[in-house]
Symmetry: C2
Subunit: 219 residues, 2 copies
């Protein structure tokens, strides 16, 4: 690869007359990362590498990949993971395609907020992933059919940001007093937020509310 400008370099690799798509796989677990790379390298039109996280925008790779294939569990901090705005998905650092599971509408929402253009079911056939990569590489949105129901529910987060942060601290095992201190609120207010969260998600108690929220990907 030659040239001086980053953008000019991005699409210069050609294989059998076709542009090659540069893919960067993101997964925290080393063996699964290597395995996904091995899977995608079976595709002749993909040029694949990997990392354990997406860099922040200011650390963008040069040349940047055309497509980031990121496990949804690697998107917990949109601020750091190169958030490019909902509905955009490409920004200056390549399109984002996330690997997710069914019944995780909260996680789906986080991916959408991180600017994901593609959504592929982790339980689906590998051919769907390859199809998704080609689609988002050409700027199209790609959503696995099996995730449609989750998209319908994704906007239905029943909790306020405050209730979510209180529940997240409780999930870490913080006692009420510690949660109150860290949020500069009274213990009574924290109890009210927890009671409200339990009621809103239809839980039986605090533990149940945490479990329901974690399963949905809200926490």
């Amino acid at each position: 690869m030659t040239g001086t400008g980053c953008d000019a370099d991005r699409r210069t690799t050609i294989y059998k007359g076709a542009f090659m798509i540069h893919v960067q796989v993101v997964h925290r677990v080393g063996l699964f990362r290597a395995a996904l790379v091995a899977l995608l390298r079976c595709e002749e039109t993909l040029h694949v590498s990997a990392s354990h996280k997406r860099p922040a925008r200011q650390e963008t790779l040069c040349p940047s990949p055309h497509v980031w294939v990121a496990d949804i569990d690697c998107l917990d901090d949109p601020a750091r993971t190169g958030k490019s705005g909902p509905g955009n998905g490409q920004g200056g650092m390549g399109a984002l395609l996330v690997l997710t599971s069914e019944r995780k509408p909260g996680a789906l929402m986080k991916a959408f907020e991180a600017g994901a253009l593609g959504y592929v079911n982790r339980d689906g056939d590998p051919s769907r992933l390859v199809e998704g990569i080609h689609r988002v590489a050409s700027g199209e949105r790609y959503v696995d059919d099996s995730l449609a129901c989750d998209f319908l529910q994704a906007t239905k987060l029943p909790l306020t940001p405050r209730e979510l942060s209180v529940l997240a601290l409780a999930a870490e095992g913080s006692p009420i007093g510690d949660i109150a201190a860290s949020l500069h609120l009274s213990s009574g207010t924290i109890r009210n937020y927890l009671a409200s969260a339990i009621r809103k998600v239809g839980a039986r108690n605090r533990m149940d509310a945490i479990r329901i929220s974690q399963n949905a990907g809200w926490l």
Copy 2:
């Protein structure tokens, strides 16, 4: 492959003068299963296939693989997953090699009880997995160096089976009364078990005890 007997068939595939090792990959997530297969198929001496779980002993595959490469999360029911006894690992259905993470001594213990002969760190280099497969295929035990500390702690389960089952039900969001009813005990006794579990794992409260136990792989 020809022949009539199952055992006679097992080692009949030969590649470049060497016996091929038949490997069966087990992972619940379809895409990761396919990816691990793609990774291992890069090795010429491995013949690789996959399934979403290990069959029970009575459903053993014929011919059975020489090595099962199973993610530790697929071993939660040793009774169903072909438990072959600690320290054995081979039984009549091939050696078991588990993929695990560091700091999960409880999960390691479950794998040991399921008869695992090999223990490979999911965060390690793929070459370690290949090495592990060859070692357990020849009947040797294989433990990733990085998991040594976890093995030292694996036998140190601080909780009694009763405390664990109470904690597991609490983790599912069951209220004290429901736990008491399902275990035919009084609510006071359940509270005592929970208090004892909290003290033993060094937790701050019930939620913290659940979190600590889940992280260690006890729950």
